[in-house]
């Protein structure tokens, strides 16, 4: 079946703008994760969902970042008032159940000018 997909592949925006990044998990996977990867670093955890609810959002850097998963499938990461420091690759992963192997999407590269 299809893997995890993310749209858009690349996003360029201006400082202060609002952006939405979308993740489509593998069908049937109940857990969904968002990570952020800065240049030359490993991915860093942002938030994860078990079903529709955010089970752990301790990695969100501040209140400009928010994520939803209203029907327990597709998730959207929302960033308000973007800053240049938000520039990174945003990775989404899903797993069949919480704690199981995570499969990653290709990421969205966000560039804030």
């Amino acid at each position: 079946g299809a893997g995890v997909s993310q749209t858009p592949s690349n996003k360029v925006t201006e400082k202060g703008k609002y952006v939405e990044l979308r993740c489509d998990p593998i069908s049937g996977h109940t857990a969904l994760y968002w990570y952020r990867q800065s240049l030359g670093q490993g991915p860093e955890f942002l938030i994860y969902f078990q079903g529709t609810g955010a089970a752990d959002d301790s990695g969100l850097p501040n209140d400009r970042f928010f994520a939803v998963r209203p029907e327990g499938s597709v998730s959207t990461l929302k960033i308000q008032r973007t800053e240049r420091g938000d520039s990174a690759v945003y990775l989404c992963a899903s797993s069949l159940n919480s704690g199981e192997t995570q499969y990653f999407g290709p990421g969205t590269r966000l560039l804030v000018l």
């Binding site: 994760y33 670093q41 490993g42 955890f45 990775l91 704690g99 192997t101 995570q102 990653f104």
Partner: protein, 114 residues
């Protein structure tokens, strides 16, 4: 805070040779998984191998195997018969808490040379 340390920022290996990438981790979990992921320039994170901490036997997937030392919290990856397509960043990952989410190391950039 949980940490994962990959002490080799870059490594190179001749095609067909064997290379070992190091990883140490720190977790308070008793039963957990450990992972190696590969990230080629396309930036897609690809699962290479998974180890279950309660299993004493080291995991093996074709040319990839691990040396898991639970007491030492060490989890190295051995790549045998290296191929040009193995050139990529390799990340070791261990659980943050409750087996999810993952904490990643900074990665090792592996170059396979013809």
């Amino acid at each position: 805070a949980q940490t994962v340390t990959q002490s080799q920022p870059e490594m190179s290996v001749q095609e067909a040779e064997t290379v070992t990438l190091s990883c140490t981790y720190d977790t308070s979990e008793n039963n957990y998984y450990l992972f190696w992921y590969k990230q080629p320039p396309s930036r897609q994170m690809i699962l290479v191998i998974r180890q279950e901490a309660y299993k004493q036997q080291n995991a093996t997937e074709n040319r990839f195997s691990v040396n898991f030392q639970k007491a030492a919290k060490s989890f190295s990856l051995k790549i045998s018969d290296s191929q040009l397509g193995d050139t990529a960043m390799y990340f070791c990952a261990s659980p943050h808490s409750g087996n999810t989410p993952l904490v990643f190391g900074k990665g090792t950039r592996l170059s396979v040379i013809a």
